[in-house]
Symmetry: C2
Subunit: 212 residues, 2 copies
Amino acid sequence: MSADPIAFRKISKRSQNQKAILEAAEKVFAEAGFAGATTQLIADVAGLPKANVHYYFKTKEELYRRVVYNIFDIWMEAASAFDTELGPREALSRYIDIKMDLARSHPNGSRVWAAEILHGAPIIQDYLEGPLLEWSTDRGKHIERWIANGEMDQIDPAHLLYMIWSTTQHYADFGHQIETLNGSKPLSDEQWQAAKLSVKTIILRGVGLSPD
Amino acid sequence: MSADPIAFRKISKRSQNQKAILEAAEKVFAEAGFAGATTQLIADVAGLPKANVHYYFKTKEELYRRVVYNIFDIWMEAASAFDTELGPREALSRYIDIKMDLARSHPNGSRVWAAEILHGAPIIQDYLEGPLLEWSTDRGKHIERWIANGEMDQIDPAHLLYMIWSTTQHYADFGHQIETLNGSKPLSDEQWQAAKLSVKTIILRGVGLSPD
DNA sequence: GTCTATACACTGATAGAC
DNA sequence: GTCTATCAGTGTATAGAC
């Protein structure tokens, strides 16, 4: 089938190793922070010798950068769920749903992102000033139009977006605290559904929309 | 006046140095994380030789512990503003106000706390399982009573508390992101007032209360 | 491409003079 | 109590054998 199966195998192994390193790195960076994470531990979690990590990613910072970029890309893709043609109720509802799902499926990515912002975004400042600002401005204008049309209450769009980000990401970033307050047990499927419903209900009603 | 002015001066200087170190440590831990913070930098920010830091705080971890405990104590004191005798509207409104004020006045403390939770609360787990759980459970019961009395909408108390914590602390923890989206300028006094009003409005309306 | 051994830098902590 | 000099340990990154 393939013109060069050996080259294909090499490329495949290459991407497999890279994927294993990236997944390990996300976990270790989330648990220990950038400075606290060691390439040795990342290599151990990935099941590879330490030198291989440096072979695939020249420096620890380059590896970290890739991890942060990955979660940002996932979020920006999810952001397309904020489809303004659907109207405020559906657009906000779906966006909150997806952000909650990502908080559950990618908690470590969210945590690495949170730590990066906490420390002043030394690595990904350009992402904040570029795509994030652009997206926020655009969605803000749609929200203002909805308000002008009387489709929802008067509210500063920026603060509404901050509220959606903070509440949804809180379930990832502060998941350990939530788990502790939940009797040191992770939220069950039913509890996750209840969390999604609570967040959607309060925010939608809070801006004058019916949650169902 | 004093029975022993020299001893008094010594004690005073001692507490002055400790205070300087604690303030410097909060700032450095917030910006670099536990592992990324160096005792050298903390000493430099405090204006003292490195050895003095170790004189007042035996280990870096002990110093870090003190910083985290400080912000927790401040928050627990603020938590008393959640005075359940006031009824849901006033109690929630005042609590949100104070948490927003603290997000502005103590952003670094909030950030150190956030990073600690992000990494699984290795140091302050006992605080989560003790006073925080106790306080949350108690306030949750009051919220449930309000709901049973028809004073506010049916909502899971835990998720309401998480929403208040996440939205208010977001203005500290993600302050850098907010500043960037605000044209790389810190929020003005007016913008902070607008933020407080937005948060209170959405949450109070979201649970069926009138925000004014 | 993979992995062992190692160089080089840095950090927390302390000993000991003042 | 204060501060300089220093040690022991650890981390990133790389050289070089395979």
